[in-house]
């Protein structure tokens, strides 16, 4: 039986929790608010919180000056491209490891995970030189390839932990009924696997969208996604707070929304199933 909690205690906890929550969220809130101010109001002292002349001017300036939409579409292509390609490669692999486990399945899984432990800077030079010599530097294709490879272990692992929970008896029953391998996958497995695939998709889009080592080092102009777009504000435009805020808000808003939807899967995905 649950213990009845006094309302006074609950009210106290509510106040504390909200105060901490707002404090942690404050930098994001402040950025969004500042993006609607004029540059003069953005650095006004004392800072105005809500009572200022709201303007959308910064958003149009950011689009005009640094072409937000081009970077946005690069981010979309790179993160969705690498995630979908990764899923295409990982789904069959995770399926076979979950349902037809062999003697070496565990070793293969652990080895895949170990490739994720490779620090990116350890292979920066070879990848940079290979990309330079094959004309892949500053191309979206090149980035899709790299991000697919660095996220592949996470995708395989996440799918594996989801697929493992699908009871094998169902597959055996289908097999008894004479289902072929492929009809087994399409009619029996797919409907049960869709939720797991969807969470894997969301988490990997977030990870690729925010990836800021390879995207900063392998792009210059043409393929630069939003991470690089924001980095270009580091100086001296960074001192124009309202424009920096507008650019930042536009860079994080899409993924913040996706992120809130997938927060439940986050723990499981990022701990490789070690914490559920």
């Amino acid at each position: 039986m649950a213990r009845a909690v006094s309302n006074r205690r609950k009210a106290l906890v509510t106040i504390c929790a909200w105060a901490v929550g707002i404090a942690i969220f404050f930098p994001i809130l402040w950025t969004v608010l500042t993006s609607f101010k004029t540059e003069a109001e953005a650095i006004a002292s004392p800072p105005s919180f809500l009572f200022f002349d709201w303007t959308l001017e910064n958003y149009s300036t950011v689009q005009e000056r640094s072409d937000y939409f081009r970077h946005f579409s690069n981010s979309v292509i790179i993160s969705f491209g690498s995630t979908l390609l990764g899923l295409l490669i990982a789904i069959p692999a995770a399926w076979s490891m979950a349902f037809v486990p062999g003697k070496r399945t565990k070793d293969v899984l652990m080895w895949m995970l170990s490739t994720k432990m490779l620090p990116p800077v350890g292979v920066l030079i070879p990848i940079y030189l290979l990309f330079r010599d094959t004309g892949l530097l500053d191309t979206r294709v090149g980035l899709v390839m790299v991000l697919t490879l660095i996220n592949l272990p996470i995708i395989v692992w996440m799918l594996f932990t989801y697929f493992r929970e699908i009871p094998g008896e169902i597959l055996e029953a289908a097999r008894m009924d004479g289902a072929e391998l492929w009809s087994e996958i399409i009619y029996v497995l797919t409907p049960m696997a869709v939720p797991g695939i969807a969470s894997t998709l969301l988490l990997n889009i977030i990870l690729s969208w925010n990836e800021a080592f390879w995207t900063l080092n392998l792009t210059a102009v043409d393929a630069a996604p939003l991470t690089a777009f924001i980095a270009s504000y580091s100086s001296p435009e960074g001192l124009f707070y309202a424009k920096l805020s507008a650019a930042s808000t536009m860079a994080i808003a899409p993924i913040l929304i996706i992120g809130w939807f997938s927060q439940k899967q986050l723990v499981r995905g990022l701990t490789f199933g070690a914490v559920k």
């Binding site: 037809v100 350890g122 292979v123 070879p126 490879l149 707070y241 805020s245 930042s248 199933g273 914490v275």
Partner: protein, 290 residues
């Protein structure tokens, strides 16, 4: 029982993933290893020659290496300390019943979804700037001298920024672990007269120990590679004050074009990361058997 037929199919389905990852591991790694024994600078092409261990000697005896190694350890250690302590406290708070749990959870998790370049620039300019930043405003309001965070305490400032990004991750995992704790066990302990401190030390901490280990190991893997936050705030400076190993190797490779030296540094970074990785793999491997 799996048939011969499905075994062959399974092997076929797993091979693209295995081959790709094998290529991704072996090709660049062997290139890094090979380059690390060459005198090779992109500015003087065609002069490559075998130099044995010279690059390693230069890299490991460079004072910048020790500065970077110390900074890497401070950065990883500092962020872990803040996120673990903060995460446990936050998880304990959010585990209590209160009004608006869903919304507060969303507010707390948000920083994790902010890309590193955005969080670094927002903190650097809008909060830590000594003239127009919000911290400077509060300092002046209290009659204090504004503090120039990024010039006088660059590493500490970066630790704060990175900790803000990773606090949600630690909180979320520890909260998930707390929620899986059997509430009857806690109630029984309370009935027997255990106060909160006793319940925390003897029931919650042992239960959280595994999750804390997972948080430490996973965060360490990511924190060893912190890069964008340093690039857009301090560029590793002043001097080497905020250069970590990743940034040092980046600077040597792509700013000074020293392929040989950068590769030797890369090999050192790989060895260090592997030491952490071994522990993490053991933890996850155990879980796989369960």
């Amino acid at each position: 029982m799996a048939t011969q037929h499905s075994r062959a199919a399974a092997r076929l389905m797993i091979s693209p993933a295995v081959l790709l990852l094998l290529g991704w591991m072996i090709i660049p790694l062997s290139m890094t290893l090979y380059f690390s024994f060459l005198r090779y600078n992109l500015l003087i092409p065609g002069m490559e020659e075998w130099t044995g261990w010279t690059n390693y000697e230069f890299f490991l005896t460079d004072p910048a290496f020790f500065a970077a190694l110390t900074n890497t350890l401070l950065l990883v250690g500092g962020v872990l300390l803040i996120t673990i302590i903060g995460g446990v406290l936050l998880a304990l708070l959010l585990d209590q019943p209160f009004w608006g749990q869903g919304i507060v959870r969303i507010l707390v998790i948000a920083p994790f979804f902010v890309m590193p370049t955005v969080s670094a620039l927002v903190w650097k300019n809008m909060f830590m700037n000594p003239v127009n930043g919000l911290f400077a405003y509060f300092a002046k309001f209290l009659g204090l001298q504004p503090f120039d965070f990024l010039s006088h305490a660059p590493l500490f400032s970066i630790i704060l920024i990175v900790a803000w990004q990773w606090l949600p991750f630690a909180t979320l995992i520890l909260l998930t672990a707390l929620q899986s704790l059997d509430s009857e066990q806690l109630e029984a302990a309370e009935m027997d007269g255990a106060n909160f401190l006793n319940r925390f030390v003897f029931i919650m901490v042992p239960h959280l120990a595994r999750s804390i280990t997972v948080v430490i190991l996973i965060q360490t893997i990511f924190l060893l590679s912190v890069f964008a936050e340093i690039l857009v705030t301090t560029n590793g400076g002043p001097g080497y004050a905020s250069t970590n190993l990743t940034y040092l190797i980046y600077a040597q490779s792509l700013l000074q074009f020293d392929v040989g030296g950068g590769s030797a540094g890369g090999v050192v970074a790989i060895i260090l990361a592997n030491i952490v990785a071994i522990f993490l793999m053991r933890m996850i491997g155990k879980n796989l058997e369960a």
